[in-house]
């Protein structure tokens, strides 16, 4: 099944990766039960100890390896774990298979040549419909794409979270999504209707990263905006999951002023947590901050030529940490006044 959907599995064809602790890959169902950190530290934290699963974004990236299948939460140019993506760009992790409702996360990684394969129903910047780097990479033929319908993507993530090999969906039939994904299969209902539907294979991941408004040190994550997107499914379908958030607060703080259903991601599905204020920049993170439209325009404009893109990366993405990025953006905004 891993090969069938063409979306997953390490490039060596083993369908998984050996984690830092030498444990197995995607084909080891027990991994879903634990989600302890590779060194056991996260599981200890779950029992209530100290700093819990708190890490830096660079430490999270330190747990990622080239060739992994990486899920990225958010949607388009909304609530993307951009600080994590920027940390990835500072590392040498590459050859990734990326699953995403794509936005500038895909654009930045593709521009840096870190994506071998993309599994996505679309890539967009919302207020700018077409993502310039994604476009360029596709038009160069530099990006292998598994193009799925949105409902198929939802069913695939759900199947992954539920450890099912596939889920049926009434989508894809009659469309070229089946033509461009020749490994997709259909399944016939065993009931009287006998309907033939597309069997969306599970979309398991080695790791998932999502950005939320709040989290506690144990890995309980909270969204305060209107839409959870697929973030909980990403975390539940992945072998390891990392939450970056605007602010880490005490567990009791989470529901002081918010309803319990804002607690989107539960610690059982989370390996590590990093506090990254403004970590979704320049995408939106409602209600903490809106999209930085001016900077997004700058990003899209800079993507037009290799020279302007080089200038953009050297100014904004060549620092040693996220603080350098924030400083560079602040000074850019001051110039625009």
């Amino acid at each position: 099944m891993n090969d069938a959907h063409g979306g997953h599995g390490a490039p060596d064809g083993r369908g998984g990766y050996a984690g830092p602790d030498g444990r197995g890959g995607l084909d080891e169902p027990d991994r879903h039960g634990g989600h302890g950190g590779p060194d056991g530290h996260a599981r200890d934290a779950g029992r209530g100890g100290g700093a819990g699963k708190v890490m830096t974004v660079d430490a999270i990236v330190g747990r990622l390896e080239s060739g992994m299948t990486l899920g990225i939460g958010g949607w388009g140019s909304r609530r993307k774990p951009m600080a994590l993506v920027r940390a990835l760009l500072r590392s040498d992790v590459t050859d990734l298979t990326v699953l995403s409702c794509g936005g500038p996360d895909v654009g930045l990684l593709a521009a840096a040549g870190r994506v071998r394969k993309l599994v996505a129903p679309f890539v967009t910047l919302d207020s700018i419909p077409l993502e310039p780097h994604f476009r360029a990479a596709r038009e160069r033929g530099a990006l292998e794409l598994v193009e799925l319908d949105e409902a198929m993507f939802l069913q695939g993530l759900t199947a992954g979270a539920q450890r099912l090999p596939f889920l049926p969906v009434r989508a894809g039939l009659g469309s070229d999504v089946l033509r461009v994904n020749p490994a997709l299969r259909t399944v016939t209902s065993p009931y009287a209707d006998g309907e033939e539907l597309v069997a969306v294979p599970a979309l398991p991941m080695d790791a998932a990263v999502v950005h939320l408004d709040r989290a506690d040190a144990l890995g309980n994550g909270q969204y305060l905006g209107p839409d959870p997107y697929f973030d909980d499914l990403f975390c539940e379908a992945a072998d390891t999951a990392y939450v970056t958030c605007e602010r880490i607060v005490a567990t009791a703080e989470l529901t002081r002023d918010a309803a319990p259903q804002t607690l989107l991601v539960s610690r059982y599905a989370v390996t590590g947590v990093a506090e990254t204020p403004g970590g979704a920049h320049f995408t939106s993170c409602a209600p903490d901050h809106g999209r930085d439209e001016a900077f997004q325009r700058e990003y899209a404009t800079a993507a037009r030529t290799p020279d302007t893109w080089r200038a953009f990366t050297s100014r904004f993405l060549s620092g040693t940490d996220e603080e350098d990025y924030r400083t560079a953006v602040r000074s850019w905004h001051e110039e625009q006044r």
Partner: protein
């Protein structure tokens, strides 16, 4: 505008899901006039109980419709979407993914998004702001939205809930009412000639006789004009999609 609004007439208590500025204004116009039972969204995650100006905040929330519930609603069929199309053919196959060979497109667009599921699960209409042979093509490069011929070839699970209602462009209104379910003219907008439409369409259109002109799209009423200009789009955002003649 009213031709887009008319797409939702008689739909009942379903979600009017518009893609683009003109369809958004049109869905709100339909709700404020002849289709008050329609459900509307704010374009993000809320069902709104009012019909604010396009781009303005809604003041009344009547439901929660985040992305995944929206997709579930698609699969449940209680929705009539009006999508755009970078290419559309005579049987209603639509492309928003890419132009050219999919493996290395000459122009990468959005991606298939939800078009494959939309077209198999709920009524679909299309809005094309600039009717041209580059959009109305003989064959689309990547079938995202499923047309009548493709649905029929894919079998009963594809055709079960498949229904393309109408295509509205800046030149006219079209449906798929011919015996072979191909695109034909329902009405041309005031002032548009049959020759203009023929020249702007990359395939033979049904309903364009050499003799008498087809029907004219109805003009907006005074009340509708007021709603469009003063209530739903006082800033004139619609002109960015279709420049005033």
């Amino acid at each position: 505008m009213v031709a887009c609004a008319e797409a939702w007439r008689g739909d009942g208590e379903v979600l009017a899901a518009p893609m683009g500025t003109v369809p958004t204004i049109a869905a709100r116009l339909a709700k404020l006039t002849f289709a008050p039972e329609l459900l509307l969204t704010d374009g993000e995650a809320l069902l709104i109980g009012d019909a604010p100006a396009v781009g303005a905040r809604s003041a009344v929330t009547e439901g929660w419709l985040p992305y995944r519930r929206h997709l579930t609603m698609v699969m449940g069929g209680r929705r009539h979407v009006m999508m755009g199309a970078s290419q559309i053919d005579r049987f209603g196959n639509q492309n928003i993914s890419c132009v050219g060979d999919w493996r290395q497109p000459t122009r990468q667009l959005l991606g298939a998004r939800g078009a494959p599921a939309n077209t198999l699960n709920n009524p679909v209409s299309y809005w094309i702001p600039r009717h041209s042979p580059r959009v109305f093509v003989e064959r689309v490069d990547m079938i995202c939205g499923v047309g009548y011929d493709s649905a029929a070839a894919a079998g009963p699970s594809a055709t079960r809930f498949h229904e393309l209602r109408r295509v509205v462009s800046d030149l006219g209104v079209f449906d798929f009412g011919t015996p072979e379910r191909a695109m034909r003219v329902v009405s041309l907008h005031p002032g548009v000639t049959a020759d203009e439409v023929r020249a702007a369409t990359g395939f033979p259109l049904g309903g364009l006789p050499d003799g008498p002109l087809p029907d004219r799209t109805r003009e907006p009423t005074t009340g509708e004009l007021h709603l469009i200009r003063a209530v739903l789009d006082p800033a004139g955002l619609r002109e960015r999609e279709v420049p005033a003649p």
